[in-house]
């Protein structure tokens, strides 16, 4: 039992601390007591927090990996090999980083499925969909640059193909490709640029977009959704962000950590042969989330596939406005959106599987 003297000493210390670092507790209480609609208790509505959680894992493991990684063509592969084989728990950190990256892409996709099918992007949330789309782009670029940093044969040639794709983008393509590669071909400059992107530019852009995303969610509020035939008592229509929703997120976080650890242990990150710019591998494969694009590349010419990707990406980016346009013209907009969504997802999956099965 603490004595009264000890208690008063603690209080005094607390007061002194509050003087040094004043906190508006009223604001904190207000922010944390944000009412959350009842439907968010369902797992598929809570997928937005997952990429954020994984992003934190990426930052933590990424910083530790950066301690050992050397971003030069001569030493990159060797340093990854050292991380994998020599650094204590290096293999585990690398495996966590790899699995977390894959999970992040999956979570972003799943989150987008939910938002799309519930049409949660509608007015006034169009801008937030676009911010979210920006986060998808950031996540994919993270994955691509990170994979390239390993500087193994497959990642090197993946980067080469990607640079060629960028080059085919009309007007800015050549400039963008040169900017990425630091020259006409993937070379010494490229790795440094990818490294700067991966550990500097993308985290900054990502954090800013996440902040904007969350800010917009908070200012717009979360729409209350009603499931048919589900009666929710008035007092249960909303629950508090803290502690109820936070504890749900913590549980999801623990489950993710458990899954990541399990996968890192059972399927640790591997290392292919080192990059050899003089030998083109028989089969080049990017990471799975670019299979869709890679298949298009094989189906059409470089220009056509790039234009097609840009066109489809453009439709997805501006979808909230297209939805509005459709809604103004028909009563069946809801069904049309669902059909478009199903076709889009199936198209993506079919092209991905097709590419996976191709030699």
């Amino acid at each position: 039992m603490a004595t009264s003297r000890e208690i008063s000493r603690t209080r005094r210390f607390g007061r002194r601390l509050a003087e040094l670092f004043p906190v508006d507790w009223e604001l904190v209480r207000h922010a944390s007591a944000e009412p959350v609609p009842h439907h968010l208790k369902k797992w598929w509505f809570a997928l937005g927090g997952t990429p954020l959680y994984l992003f934190m894992v990426q930052i933590a493991t990424g910083i530790l990996l950066t301690f050992y990684y050397v971003p030069s063509p001569e030493q990159a592969y060797q340093s990854v090999a050292e991380i994998t084989h020599q650094v204590r728990f290096g293999w585990f950190l690398r495996s966590l980083h790899m699995w977390s990256a894959n999970f992040m892409v999956i979570a972003v996709f799943l989150h987008m499925f939910r938002v799309f099918f519930t049409r949660a992007y509608r007015h006034p949330r169009q801008l937030n969909w676009m911010v979210g789309f920006g986060l998808l782009g950031t996540t994919l670029t993270f994955g691509f640059t990170g994979y390239s940093l390993i500087y193994e044969q497959m990642s090197f040639w993946g980067a080469t193909v990607a640079a060629n794709l960028a080059e085919a983008v009309p007007l800015v393509g050549g400039f963008a490709a040169d900017l990425l590669r630091g020259g006409p071909e993937v070379g010494e400059q490229t790795l440094t640029r990818f490294f700067i992107l991966h550990i500097g530019v993308l985290p900054t852009v990502g954090l800013l977009l996440v902040a904007l995303h969350v800010y917009l969610i908070r200012t717009h509020g979360v729409t209350e959704l009603h499931f048919e035939g589900e009666e929710v008592a008035t007092e249960k229509r909303f629950f508090r962000f803290y502690p109820e929703h936070v504890s749900t997120e913590i549980l999801i976080g623990l489950l993710l950590m458990y899954l990541l650890t399990l996968l890192a242990l059972v399927f640790p990150a591997e290392l292919g042969p080192p990059a050899d710019p003089t030998v083109t591998p028989e089969h080049i494969k990017p990471e799975w989330y670019f299979y869709f694009n890679f298949r298009l590349l094989k189906l059409f010419s470089l220009q056509v596939s790039v234009l097609l990707t840009m066109f489809l990406g453009g439709i997805a980016f501006f979808w909230p406005f297209i939805d509005g346009w459709i809604s103004r013209r028909t009563k069946h907009a809801d069904t049309i959106v669902v059909i478009v969504g199903v076709f889009a997802v199936l198209g993506f999956l079919i092209l991905t599987v097709w590419e996976a099965l191709a030699p």
Partner: protein
């Protein structure tokens, strides 16, 4: 659309997404396994063979599955496939199949390796028919109608002349529903290094690259060479095992990168120790940081021949058509551009015959150049002075053996024939011939091989000690004995000759040491063991 229906759609699509990802992961890991050579690629042409032989000979399919061949989709028909009309071909399950896979088959993909091997000593290992080794196996140890010692012994390393069983009409006998040609049992199975194949090719790649896994690891391991390079007459593996190189190898086997794919370069891929392959055929880094490629001509880096009675340095003559000949240091070298009659052994009608071919000399490789190639490997771990001094030590041992024992013994044997004491057509008639044979072929080689690969015990106790003991105790008395058997006059002549020989400075020690040397010896044994030594007595001092 109701929210619940949308929930079902999202859940359904999510499951499809997950299923697609699992499929991608499965494909990815399969691709990875194929790339790493862990997954066999069974092409359409090989499917039927693999399927059937998985039951009939499953272990050989399993071995093939873990081979590099399998990972590249090189399968059964790629090696065993034959053309209709080939001497060993038969129609097996609708495919023309070869009874034997020979270096010619391997050369379809491994042309460079085949070309190098075909000109090597290894490829000529089967040409031992006119050798004393062969006489001993077929005549001394064999009997008319039974040369099992040669079949089970010599030929399993040197290689057989692979023959077919033939009928009275000379036609190849065939068996079974598919008319499979019957190979003569005494000539096959055989994986001898210099096997003489019916298609005219020489050798068996399987001798080093064991079928069907064809692991580079096996060819790089010293035990592989030890199958043949061992025993009383050429104990290379035993010498290696006792050398610092062998010790380092066995202690560090897991650091040798023996399973390295592609090139296996000393100084780049491994450093722990050299194996036989390292020094004789494999790649190594030069002091300029370049890679010296491997070479399947195993004798390329050898500068002495340690096999004959008297060792000589080995020069090499390369002809315009790529044919190579070792020229012992005693043989006069031709000049570049000269036309030379070369004699090569080929198989004609299943018999080994000599063929004389006139060739033009393209290049002379002096022994110094061959030695420099060997030194290049040494220099990965040792400095110039170390390597040069090693060769001084090694050369001096070979010269010691040559000058003190081999050359005088050979001269004596020649003169015994000239005196009619020995019959040149009866190489193992008298004791002196057996003693002389073992003196150079067994003990003398052991000493020389011991020195060449830094095996001190094989150099001395199994080598020069045995040479000396048998020279003094067996050879010299046997010479006099053989002469006496022929005639008293020759007996007297050779007793005198042997006395003169023993009076030479290098042999005079045999009569007794100087008083100072004898005293030093006595003191040493007394100091070390507290015992006297020298006259067969070993006296203790505990009260006697």
């Amino acid at each position: 659309m109701t929210l619940r229906m949308k929930q079902t759609i999202v859940a359904g699509l999510s499951f499809l997404f997950l299923a697609a990802l699992l499929l991608v992961a499965w494909q990815e890991s399969k691709r990875h396994r194929i790339e790493e050579g862990l997954e066999p690629v069974v092409t359409a042409a090989n499917e039927a063979c693999v399927e059937c032989h998985r039951k009939d000979g499953p272990a050989l399919v399993m071995e093939w599955e873990r081979s590099s061949h399998a990972s590249y989709g090189v399968g059964c028909v790629d090696c065993h496939g034959a053309e209709e009309g080939e001497v060993d071909a038969w129609l097996h399950e609708g495919e023309w199949t070869a009874a034997l896979v020979t270096p010619k088959d391997c050369a379809r993909c491994h042309a460079r390796e085949h070309d190098q091997f075909a000109k090597s000593h290894h490829a000529k290992a089967g040409e031992i028919l006119a050798s004393l080794d062969n006489v001993l196996a077929e005549k001394a140890a064999g009997m008319p109608g039974n040369i099992a010692d040669a079949v089970n012994g010599c030929w399993q390393c040197h290689g057989s002349i692979v023959r077919f069983e033939r009928g009275a009409d000379g036609e190849i006998l065939r068996t079974g529903k598919e008319n499979k040609p019957v190979l003569a049992a005494e000539t096959w199975p055989n994986s001898g290094m210099g096997r003489l194949n019916p298609d005219g090719s020489k050798g068996s790649c399987h001798a080093c690259h064991s079928r069907h896994s064809f692991q580079a690891e096996i060819a790089r391991s010293p035990e592989n060479c030890g199958k043949c390079h061992m025993g009383p007459d050429h104990p290379q593996i035993e010498v290696y095992n006792e050398s610092k190189h062998g010790i380092a190898f066995y202690a560090n086997r897991d650091r040798m990168a023996l399973d390295e794919k592609g090139d296996w370069v000393l100084g780049r891929d491994y450093s722990a120790a050299p194996t036989c392959a390292t020094c004789h055929i494999s790649s190594y880094m030069t002091t300029q940081g370049e890679v010296v490629p491997n070479n399947h001509d195993v004798g390329q880096r050898i500068s002495w021949t340690l096999r004959p009675v008297i060792s000589t340095k080995l020069n090499l003559v390369v002809y315009e058509d790529g044919y190579k000949e070792d020229y012992p240091g005693t043989r006069e070298l031709p000049a570049v551009g000269d036309e030379v009659d070369t004699v090569e052994k080929i198989v004609e009608d299943e018999e080994l015959v000599n063929r004389t071919v006139t060739r033009r000399v393209a290049k002379i490789v002096p022994w110094e150049e061959r030695r420099a190639a060997m030194k290049g490997a040494c220099l990965n771990c040792h400095n110039d002075a170390f390597v040069d001094n090693f060769y001084v030590q090694f050369d001096s041992l070979v010269e010691l053996y040559n000058e003190k024992f081999a050359r005088p013994a050979q001269a004596i044997m020649d003169e015994l024939i000239a005196d009619g004491i020995l019959d040149p057509n009866a190489p193992f008639e008298k004791e002196v011939q057996w003693v002389f044979w073992e003196l150079w072929h067994h003990e003398g080689r052991r000493a020389r091989h011991g020195a060449s690969m830094m095996g001190p015990d094989y150099t001395h106790w199994h080598g020069m000690y045995e040479v000396a003991k048998h020279f003094y105790q067996e050879f010299v008395p046997a010479v006099v004995e053989a002469a006496e058997e022929t005639s008293p006059a020759l007996g007297e002549k050779w007793a005198r000759r042997m006395d003169e020989l023993m009076a030479r400075p290098e042999h005079v020690w045999h009569e007794g040491l100087s008083p100072e040397e004898a005293e030093a010896l006595r003191r040493m044994y007394e100091d070390r063991y507290d015992q006297a030594v020298g006259s067969g007595r070993a006296e203790g001092t505990d009260g006697e």
